[in-house]
């Protein structure tokens, strides 16, 4: 982007007519539009087929039933979903998971960002170390923690028993809390980077003024940092809720949704219904419902965010 600064400021050689409402287009404008559409054509076809058609298709499939999804069922799949104890359980578990990962992401991400923002030497090394898990596949992360937390073979329990402490079966006793912790282990570095970008947008003068007024570090954090980070916090919380509600690998790889259905994340539930039970119609209806929940959450968060927006 460095080039823009050096470009000579000359009047434009060919002044393009501004878009008039249905006015006659000049030959140049018409040629430009034609070029634009030629360049765009592959993308438009792609997004129509692989993003918009699937939405239409899933709405259609969600009203079908039967092994081959060929009988019309109207809204039965939707009404059934509300009474299905398994679907309700999966929803409850997923909501807990999403809320916990979101709160954790904000607290840990903001905390680490504030720590690292003090112009420390070696801060790049800390950033990279904290970011590594985010760029690791959920497959590697999931398998690694399943092994580390294993009641007998896991290194954590072997260390505990070496120390004469009782061993723990975290994945059986606290499955949701455990996958929340693993998820935070994986994503906190990324959240931290987002908060760091937000922190760097807060002008130093506020802190200097606060220091002159004798504000403690905690007061500065509470009265300057937190309110001025609101846009970042909002962005992080929207992102974290969205990703939390559609988490899949944690259940598929680490807990298999168990014990029982204690960690039956919603997308894992949908996956099992579609590809194990071959119940495409019902699985489609549940997908649509989850999408609606995600959209609703996003809208509510954005609305809360707008009310809380602060300007100094």
């Amino acid at each position: 982007m460095a080039t823009s600064a050096e470009a000579p400021q000359r009047p434009e050689p060919v002044e393009l007519p501004k878009r008039g409402k249905r006015a006659k287009r000049s030959p140049i404008a018409r040629r430009q539009a034609r070029t634009a559409y030629v360049f765009l054509a592959p993308a438009l076809v792609f997004f129509a087929i692989f993003f918009y058609y699937p939405i239409a298709d899933i709405l259609n499939t969600s009203m079908l039933t039967g092994q081959r999804a060929d009988e019309f069922a109207g809204l039965d799949n939707y009404t059934n979903a509300f009474e299905d104890p398994q679907a309700r359980n999966a929803f409850k578990v997923t909501l807990q998971f999403a809320v916990a990962t979101t709160v954790g992401a904000i607290v840990l991400g903001m905390g680490l960002a504030v720590l690292i923002n003090q112009k420390l030497r070696g801060s790049l090394a800390f950033k990279l170390a904290l970011l590594v898990p985010y760029l690791t596949s959920i497959a590697v992360v999931g398998l690694m923690w399943r092994n580390i937390l294993d009641p007998e073979l896991g290194i954590l329990n072997r260390i505990l028993s070496d120390l004469g402490l009782p061993t723990q079966e975290w994945l059986n006793t606290h499955p949701v809390a455990t996958i929340v912790a693993v998820t935070l282990w994986m994503t906190t570095g990324y959240t931290m980077i987002l908060f760091l970008a937000g922190l760097q947008g807060i002008p130093d003068v506020y802190y200097e003024a606060a220091k002159v007024d004798g504000a403690s570090r905690w007061q500065q954090f509470r009265r300057i940092t937190v309110p001025l980070l609101t846009p970042t916090t909002l962005f992080v919380s929207v992102m974290a809720v969205i990703t939390g509600l559609q988490a899949f690998g944690q259940a598929y790889i680490i807990t298999r949704g168990g014990p029982g259905e204690a960690s039956d994340l919603f997308v894992f539930h949908i996956f099992e219904l579609a590809f194990r039970s071959r119940n495409f119609g019902y699985a489609s209806a549940l997908s649509v419902l989850l999408l609606l929940v995600i959209v609703a959450f996003t809208l509510v968060q954005l609305r809360i965010g707008r009310k809380r927006e602060v300007q100094y």
């Binding site: 699937p54 690791t136 398998l143 923690w145 073979l153 072997r158």
Partner: protein, 272 residues
């Protein structure tokens, strides 16, 4: 509290946090080099007595790991290449052209960022099945050839390039594609590097779609192949760990070769 003590506290806490992220990964490396006996022993083995490099070759005998790697390279490579071809071209059109329905189309493309994979998963599976593309490279690759984010990123990057450059080239009689190829693309090199690397790594790591669309062992990508392997052979944890280390190589290369760049890159592209 002086600035000195608060920095000291920050160092301590950040060191603890970094150890929490790094130590489990190092332990995975250790596990990949342990003997079966060390791995199964009741006592904790933090580092093997003599590293068993042979575990890595055993892994290739126990599972078609070579195919997994090749499949992952082909799929992530093809998708990254496609993004490098289409994202800047489409981004350029939205940055520099005026045409009817421009805003509508741009919003329509950006809106696809709100369509999560789980919503596309079942329809795409049925589509792939109708096309006969289940368990094939086309099935793994084609649904991910472009996405709204790469296009948005490239549009933002191209917008500040001065229009004068484009107009001057037009006056000189350059064709539209030549302008894109000779003038716009060369200016995008840093953005293209970020786009290509991150697309590759995220696709290399992708788990859900390859799990859905592959049915035979030989078409699996590494994340899926490794997960299935560990579920079938759950007593062979040291080999699963060896597979995890192999899987981690592209991320490590990305970290080593980009560093400072990399933190900026992730701020830009981290949205999966």
């Amino acid at each position: 509290m002086t600035a000195g003590t608060s920095k000291a506290i920050a160092y301590v806490l950040l060191t603890i946090a970094s150890l929490i992220t790094i130590v489990p990964l190092l332990y995975t490396v250790s596990l990949s080099l342990q003997t079966e006996k060390e791995m199964l022993s009741a006592e904790s083995v933090l580092w093997p007595e003599s590293p068993q490099w042979g575990n890595y070759s055993t892994l290739f005998e126990e599972a078609p790991f070579g195919s997994f790697i090749l499949n992952s390279l082909i799929v992530a490579g093809a998708i990254a290449l496609s993004h490098l071809i289409f994202d800047p071209l489409v981004g350029y059109v939205f940055a520099k052209f005026e045409f009817p329905f421009k805003n509508t189309l741009f919003v329509a493309i950006l809106a696809t960022l709100m369509i999560p994979l789980f919503v596309r998963m079942i329809p795409l599976y049925v589509m792939m099945s109708d096309l006969g593309w289940l368990d094939s490279y086309q099935g793994l690759i084609v649904p991910f050839l472009m996405d709204g984010f790469g296009i948005f990123l490239m549009r933002q990057f191209i917008q500040p390039i001065p229009d004068d450059l484009i107009h001057a080239a037009r006056v000189d009689g350059a064709g539209e594609f030549t302008i894109y190829w000779r003038i716009i693309l060369p200016q995008c090199k840093p953005a293209l590097a970020v786009l290509g690397l991150f697309t590759f790594v995220f696709q290399w790591n992708e788990f859900l779609w390859p799990l859905v669309v592959t049915t035979s062992e030989r078409m699996r990508t590494i994340p899926v192949g490794l997960t299935q392997f560990s579920q079938e052979q759950f007593q062979l944890w040291h080999l699963t760990a060896a597979g995890s280390v192999i899987m981690f190589v592209p991320t490590a290369l990305l970290l080593i070769f980009s560093q400072r760049y990399f933190v900026r890159g992730i701020t830009l592209t981290g949205l999966k």
